[in-house]
């Protein structure tokens, strides 16, 4: 739920110093509100995470450019609905090895916090139907296989002496959201002791 507004500089300013001011609006409320950290700034982004932290409301944002003695029209976003539009980051991935199996233990990411000291809120609490798309790559056969889970996966069918790589994406069934895949994790299975004894 980290929500950052980005924009492009206006065209045709030819080196003039351009500054920007951002305002936001909570849908259903009365007026546009200013953003303390985004008044007359020269960067082209503004972090609105604190302003939009109530993910069940909907929001608009707008930005105005100022240069020399002139200023642009306000450029406005569409209606933004954090609850349905936020990109859910990848889960924490822990690999546990068993006698003849490997388990992938997945833990939901945490919601962005206004104050780092705040208690963590798991995205699982916000999206009880949060699921994970696990992709497993066999480096020998060069084959991908995919699994859907909501917490842990155990693989008992892995072949010995092979490197496997996995990456995991969180997803929430419903409107389309851009996925944020986890980093690739690789592990190798042990040699088959039986073949070693022959």
């Amino acid at each position: 739920m980290k929500n950052v507004l980005h924009w492009n500089p206006p065209k045709g300013q030819h080196g003039a110093e351009v500054t920007y001011t951002v305002q936001y609006f909570i849908y259903g409320q009365k007026e546009w509100l200013s953003v303390s950290g985004c008044r007359s700034i020269s960067r082209t982004y503004c972090d609105l995470s604190a302003e939009t932290s109530d993910y069940e409301h909907q929001y608009y944002a707008k930005v105005q450019a100022t240069w020399e003695t002139k200023c642009s029209e306000w450029a406005e976003t569409g209606r933004f609905y954090p609850f349905l539009e936020t990109q859910v980051g990848p889960p924490e991935v822990v690999l546990k090895t068993g006698e003849k199996s490997i388990s992938i233990v997945l833990t939901a990411p945490e919601k962005w916090k206004i104050n780092p000291k705040d208690d963590p809120v798991s995205m699982q609490q916000i999206y009880s139907n949060l699921k994970y798309n696990v992709s497993v790559y066999n480096t020998k056969s060069r084959m991908w296989s995919q699994y859907i889970t909501n917490s842990t996966l155990e693989f008992t069918w892995l072949e010995p002496s092979i490197q496997y790589c996995i990456h995991v994406e969180s997803f929430v069934p419903g409107p389309p959201r851009l996925p944020l895949p986890s980093q690739k994790r690789c592990f190798s299975t042990l040699k088959d002791r039986m073949s070693a004894l022959k």
Binding site: F25, Y27, G28, E56, H57, R79, L84, N129, P173, G174
Partner: protein
């Protein structure tokens, strides 16, 4: 309340709505007015009232919003009629599923009256357009509440 509404129906509505969401919401210029209030107000609905409020809101969309809305774009019109048909299907599913277990408390009745009052504040075509643009609020509420109330 047994879980009545199938998530398949909800997802099919979401997909159709998502395709026309920007078009609908951009035409809605009354940012300071909301028909369904925010999910927060709907969230105050107790689990026991979820069925009643769902039923009333489905009827509200069927009998007022879909009828009152004037649409010029054929593409948007097509998607809206698909959504309307899925709403009818959802209504039938809900009716068959709940039979008589769908009582309405005073709070549930008040909540749906607020929606009607909000609707009546605006000129009809603006109200219908705004209500359609707020389908994401309603669908998010259905998704949250018809998943969590799966235990009778």
């Amino acid at each position: 309340l047994r879980r009545c509404l199938s998530s398949v129906d909800v997802h099919r509505i979401e997909q159709s709505f998502w395709d026309i969401r920007r078009a609908l919401q951009t035409k809605d210029t009354f940012k300071n007015i909301t028909i369904l209030s925010s999910l927060k107000n709907l969230d105050s609905i107790k689990p026991v009232d979820v069925c009643c409020v769902t039923r009333h809101l489905l009827t509200f969309y069927r009998d007022r919003v879909f009828k009152d809305h004037q649409e010029t774009s054929h593409e948007v019109k097509r998607k809206i009629s698909k959504i309307a048909n899925l709403f009818l299907q959802m209504q039938r599913t809900l009716e068959q599923c709940v039979h008589s277990q769908c009582g309405c408390s005073q709070e549930a009745t008040n909540a749906t009256r607020i929606v009607q009052d909000n609707y009546n504040q605006l000129e009809v075509s603006s109200a219908a357009l705004k209500s359609l643009g707020e389908l994401d609020i309603f669908l998010a509420w259905i998704g949250k509440n018809h998943r969590e109330t799966s235990a009778a």
